[in-house]
């Protein structure tokens, strides 16, 4: 299947295993680009919690996968995302793109990641010694997204 999208609600997820299965599912691909996002080990952060809204979050990720497949000639796209409580250093997200040529794979993974960071229906809070704090949207994430809108205008 070209699209491999899932939400993982529990611990014990190993991105490397998912990546191996994805590579095996696309033996014709000339290359595979992947990105693993982890809970950044910032000072004072004890845990990160990601919450989601089931009616929107997974359908939104699936739509993003379709959008990515429509924009680049890919053999496959993978988007796996954790929810729940995670410790610093734990993996949160795995994005991978399989394509005939490397540039398509790199760009598709980058595009999917930028959209996940700014568009996906996730809310984050982090636990510090004085309790939980909600994380507000970052301006940089929106700037990253605009990059692609600019590009699509240029090529349109």
């Amino acid at each position: 299947m070209a699209r491999d999208v899932c939400l993982l609600e529990s611990d014990g997820w190993t991105p490397a295993v998912a990546l191996e299965a994805f590579a095996a599912a696309h033996p014709q691909a000339g290359g595979l680009a992947s990105f693993i996002g982890k809970v950044r080990p910032d000072e004072g952060v004890e845990a990160l919690e990601l919450s989601h809204y089931a009616p929107l979050t997974l359908p939104g990720m699936e739509a993003l996968a379709e959008q990515t497949l429509a924009r680049w000639p890919l053999d496959g796209i993978l988007i796996h995302h954790r929810t729940g409580i995670m410790r610093p250093g734990a993996p949160i997200v795995l994005v991978a793109a399989a394509a005939r040529h490397r540039r398509d794979a790199f760009e598709a993974a980058d595009f999917a990641m930028d959209h996940l960071k700014s568009d996906a229906w996730f809310w984050k809070r982090e636990k510090r010694s004085d309790g939980w704090h909600w994380i507000e949207p970052r301006a940089q994430d929106h700037a990253d997204l605009e990059r692609w809108q600019r590009d699509s205008r240029r090529t349109a």
Binding site: Y53, P55, V93, F122, I135, R138
Partner: protein, 80 residues
């Protein structure tokens, strides 16, 4: 049956609960009247979106919900 209001992210903290049952039917003014006071101002701001049964409303004030519907109040996402 009733309508379920779902509060996401920090809105759940502000509301003091992740969800709430309210009587049907419900329009935009009815929703504002049913919300915990701590949310009424924020809900009217353009950064908070509304979803009715999993579909984002383009225009919040056009809300029209009936028995069994679920309305979600969505603050800005903090990204994956």
């Amino acid at each position: 049956m009733a309508i379920t209001l779902v509060f996401l992210g920090k809105l759940a903290d502000l509301a003091g609960t992740p969800d709430l049952q309210v009587a049907a039917p419900l329009d935009w003014n009815g929703l504002l009247a049913s919300l915990p006071e701590s949310l009424t101002e924020m809900a009217q701001g353009e950064r908070v979106k509304l979803a009715l049964n999993g579909s984002i409303l383009a225009e919040k004030t056009a809300l029209s919900a009936n028995d069994g519907d679920e309305i979600a109040l969505l603050p800005p996402v903090s990204g994956g």
